[in-house]
C-alpha cells in the first residue's frame, strides 16, 4: 500500500539546514493498522505530510498503492489524495461555516461524483459514525468527539483505501478518545489501511503494528505492541 525507500527531506533557511527525514524507509501492506510514535521534532509530522502527498521530498522513492509519486504534477497529486487517502486531523479541521453534510461533501465535490451519489455517500458515512441525525448541524453545535467523528465520516466518504490520522484523539477527553479509537478499529477490520501518528503510548499499543521515529529515521521496526519508553514520556 505504502512503500517508502530512503526518503530524505531537508528544510533550509538562510542560517540552518535541518534534516527532517534521512534514509527513511517504511513498508505498509494493504489492510495494516500502523501507529507511528516519536518525540516532538523526530520527523513524525514530516513523514505524515509526505505520506499524505502534502509535501514533496528531496531524495528516495515513494510508491502509494503502486504509483510512484515522484515528479507527479500538482493536479495528479491532488487526484491521488482525493481518491486514495482519507485525512483525520488532531484539530478536526472542519470548515466552521459549513454544516456536516457540506463538510463531508468537500472531497466528493473534487472527486466529481454526481449529486445523487454524493448525497448517498454523505448519508452513509455520517450514519456510520453515528451522526446521521445531525447532518444540518454546524461544527460549533457539536461536541469535540462528534466533530472528530464527522471528520472521520469526511475521510471515509470517498471510500479511500488508506487513512492517515494525525493525533486523532489529541484534543479529546478519554471517553470520546475511546469512541474514536473504536471507530478506527472497526474500519481496520473492514479492510482499510490506517497509519496513525500519535505520541499517546496507550493508543499506539492498540494498533497491531508500532513503529518509532527518531531523528528522522525509523528507529525500531520490530517493536510490536511494546511502546518505546521515550515516546511515552514526550
Amino acid at each position: 500500500m505504502l512503500s517508502m525507500h530512503n526518503i530524505s527531506k531537508v528544510f533550509r533557511t538562510d542560517l540552518v539546514q535541518t534534516h527532517a527525514l534521512r534514509d527513511f524507509s517504511l513498508e505498509v501492506a494493504a489492510g495494516e493498522f500502523v501507529a507511528v510514535t516519536g518525540p516532538s521534532g523526530s520527523g513524525k509530522t514530516t513523514f505524515l505530510n509526505i505520506a499524505g502527498l502534502l509535501e514533496n521530498f528531496d531524495g528516495g522513492s515513494y510508491r502509494l498503492d503502486g504509483v510512484d509519486v515522484a515528479g507527479l504534477s500538482d493536479s495528479a497529486l491532488a487526484r491521488l489524495r482525493n481518491e486514495k487517502i482519507g485525512f483525520i486531523f488532531q484539530s478536526f479541521n472542519l470548515i466552521p461555516d459549513l454544516n456536516l453534510f457540506d463538510n463531508v461533501d468537500v472531497p466528493l465535490r473534487y472527486r466529481g461524483f454526481s449529486a445523487a451519489e454524493r448525497k448517498q455517500r454523505i448519508e452513509e458515512a455520517l450514519e456510520k459514525v453515528g451522526l446521521g441525525a445531525r447532518m444540518k448541524h454546524l461544527p460549533s453545535q457539536l461536541s469535540g468527539g462528534q466533530q472528530q467523528r464527522a471528520a472521520i465520516a469526511r475521510a471515509l466518504a470517498g471510500s479511500p483505501r488508506f487513512l492517515l490520522a494525525d493525533e486523532p484523539t489529541g484534543n479529546l477527553d478519554s471517553l470520546m478518545a475511546r469512541q474514536v479509537m473504536e471507530l478506527l478499529e472497526q474500519l481496520h477490520e473492514e479492510g482499510t489501511t490506517i497509519v496513525m501518528v500519535t505520541h499517546d503510548a496507550e493508543l499506539a499499543r492498540r494498533a497491531p503494528r508500532n513503529i518509532h521515529v527518531l531523528d528522522g529515521a525509523v528507529s525500531d521496526l520490530h517493536v510490536v505492541g511494546t511502546p518505546s519508553l521515550r515516546a511515552a514520556t514526550v
Binding site: L54, N82, R109
Partner: protein, 440 residues
C-alpha cells in the same frame, strides 16, 4: 463545479459582511466615477453619422492673413467667406455639396394672434438634406432654383412644426419670418446629431436649427449670420455687400466625396482655385487647403474638451486606487481563509481549483460592484448633467447611459476585479497546505 464555487463564494462574502461591502463599494465607486466620465466622453466623441462619416468632408481653404496661421501649427480657418463658398459651389465634382450658416428670425404662423418667438435657422443649399440623410416627416427639400434665385420656401424642423402647426402636416402652408411670408415645402422628423458636427464653430452640442432656408434668400434679404464671424484683414465694411466681399469667414462648407479618386480631383480643384485667386492678390498664406472627414474634423476642432479628457484620465487613476485597495483587502481576506483552503487541498483540490474558487469569489465582488457602480454612474450622470448641461442645448443627450456602455461598465468591473484578485488568488493557491493544517 461553478455552482459549487458560487455557493461557497457567497457564503464567504457573507462571513465578513463589512469587508465584503467595503470591497464591493470600492469597485462600485470606481466604476461609477469611471462610467460617468467615460459616458460623457464616449458620447462627445461618438460618430454622429457613422454610415457615411468617411465620405463627408469639411472643406477648408487657408484664406487667413500672412502674419500667423488661424491656429498653430498651421491650421486653416474652419469656415469660408462668401466669395469662396460661392465659387466652390460651382464645382460639379462632389455629387453633393452645401454651404451653410446660422441665422436668427422671429417666427409667426398664419394666425395673427400667434405670439412670435425667436428661432434659429440654417441658410443652406438644397443638398444639405441628402448630404446628411435628414429624415423627412412630410414633403422634402427645395430645388436648385431656390438656391440661385429668391424663392420664399422653408423646411421646418419637428419642434417648429409642433409649435407653429400643432404637429400637423404643414406642407403648403405659410409661416412668417421677420414679417416675410415663406411657404413650407417639407417637415423634418426629429433630427439632432450629437455632436452637431456640421457646425462646431457655434456650440459643439447645440441643438440643430429648427428652420431651413434656401441659399437664394441670403443676399436679397441681407441675412446676417448668428454665428461667429472672424476676420484678419482691416477692411472697411460699410454695407452688406461689402461684408459679403470681405475676407471675414463665417460659412461652413461640406462636400460628399464617395471615393479617393473624387477626393483627389476635388483637392486639385480647390488648389487650382486658390492658385487663381493668389494671382489676384488674395490668399497670402502658402497653399493649405484641407479636406477632413467627419471624425478627423471633430478631432481637429477639439470637439472633446480638455477638461473631459483630464476627468476620464483622473477617473481611471481613481479606479486604480480602488483596485489597489481591493488587492490589499483580498490578500488579507484570502490569507485569513488559508487554513480552509489548505484543508481543501488536503482533501483533493488542486492548486488550480483553489485559484478558480478564489477567482469566482473575486468575480462575484466585481459583478456586484459593477451593478452597484452602474447605479452610481446613473446618479453621477444626473448630477453632472445639472452641473454642465444648458437648458436649451442638445448636450443633455451626453449624460445618458446606454446598453453598450452599461455592458462596458460590467466588463470593466469584472476585468478590473479579476485583475485585482489574480495576485491574491494565486498567492494563496500556492501556499503549501502542510503548514496550515496543524494548528487552526
Amino acid at each position: 463545479m461553478f455552482a459549487y464555487y458560487l455557493r461557497l463564494s457567497l457564503a464567504s462574502l457573507r462571513r465578513h459582511p463589512a469587508l465584503s461591502a467595503l470591497m464591493v463599494l470600492a469597485i462600485a465607486i470606481g466604476i461609477g466615477v469611471c462610467m460617468t466620465t467615460l459616458t460623457v466622453h464616449t458620447l462627445m466623441s461618438s460618430d454622429p453619422i457613422p454610415w457615411k462619416s468617411d465620405k463627408l468632408f469639411a472643406v477648408r481653404l487657408d484664406s487667413w492673413g500672412p502674419d500667423r496661421p488661424w491656429e498653430e501649427p498651421n491650421e486653416p480657418p474652419p469656415e469660408l467667406n462668401w466669395r469662396d463658398a460661392t465659387a466652390l459651389m460651382a464645382s460639379d465634382i462632389p455629387p453633393r455639396h452645401a454651404a451653410m450658416f446660422k441665422s436668427m428670425f422671429t417666427v409667426q404662423n398664419e394666425d395673427p394672434g400667434f405670439a412670435p418667438y425667436m428661432v434659429e435657422a440654417r441658410i443652406t443649399h438644397k443638398d444639405f438634406f441628402a448630404l446628411f440623410d435628414t429624415p423627412f416627416l412630410h414633403g422634402g427639400g427645395w430645388g436648385d432654383s431656390a438656391d440661385k434665385n429668391l424663392e420664399q420656401v422653408v423646411v421646418l424642423g419637428k419642434v417648429a412644426n409642433d409649435k407653429l402647426f400643432g404637429g400637423e402636416n404643414s406642407v403648403g402652408r405659410t409661416i412668417r419670418l421677420d414679417e416675410r411670408e415663406f411657404k413650407v415645402v417639407g417637415v423634418l422628423a426629429d433630427w439632432q446629431p450629437v455632436p452637431k458636427f456640421y457646425d462646431v464653430n457655434n456650440g459643439n452640442f447645440d441643438a440643430a436649427e429648427d428652420i431651413y432656408l434656401p441659399w437664394g434668400t441670403a443676399q436679397p434679404f441681407q441675412l446676417r449670420t448668428a454665428g461667429n464671424t472672424n476676420g484678419w484683414k482691416p477692411e472697411n465694411i460699410d454695407s452688406f455687400d461689402a461684408f459679403l466681399n470681405s475676407e471675414s469667414v463665417w460659412i461652413q462648407f461640406w462636400a460628399e466625396l464617395p471615393d479617393t479618386e473624387t477626393k483627389a480631383r476635388y483637392q486639385a480643384f480647390l488648389d487650382a482655385y486658390v492658385g487663381e485667386q493668389k494671382k489676384l492678390g488674395r490668399f497670402p498664406r502658402p497653399l493649405n487647403n484641407r479636406l477632413s472627414d467627419v471624425n478627423q474634423f471633430m478631432s481637429e476642432r477639439h470637439v472633446v474638451g480638455d477638461d473631459n479628457r483630464v476627468l476620464v484620465g483622473l477617473s481611471f487613476l481613481f479606479l486604480a486606487v480602488c483596485l489597489i485597495n481591493m488587492v490589499g483587502l483580498l490578500l488579507a481576506k484570502f490569507l485569513g481563509k488559508a487554513p480552509e483552503l489548505a484543508l481543501r487541498r488536503a482533501l483533493g483540490a488542486s492548486q488550480w481549483q483553489i485559484v478558480q474558487l478564489n477567482l469566482v469569489e473575486v468575480g462575484l465582488v466585481g459583478l456586484l460592484g459593477g451593478v452597484l457602480g452602474l447605479g452610481l454612474a446613473y446618479g453621477g450622470l444626473e448630477a453632472v448633467k445639472t452641473l454642465y448641461a444648458s437648458n436649451d442645448g442638445n448636450d443633455v443627450r451626453l449624460y445618458a447611459l446606454n446598453l453598450p456602455l452599461a455592458l462596458q461598465a460590467m466588463a470593466i468591473a469584472l476585468a478590473a476585479s479579476l485583475l485585482a484578485g489574480l495576485y491574491p488568488a494565486l498567492k494563496v493557491g500556492r501556499l503549501a497546505p502542510a503548514g496550515l493544517l496543524k494548528t487552526q
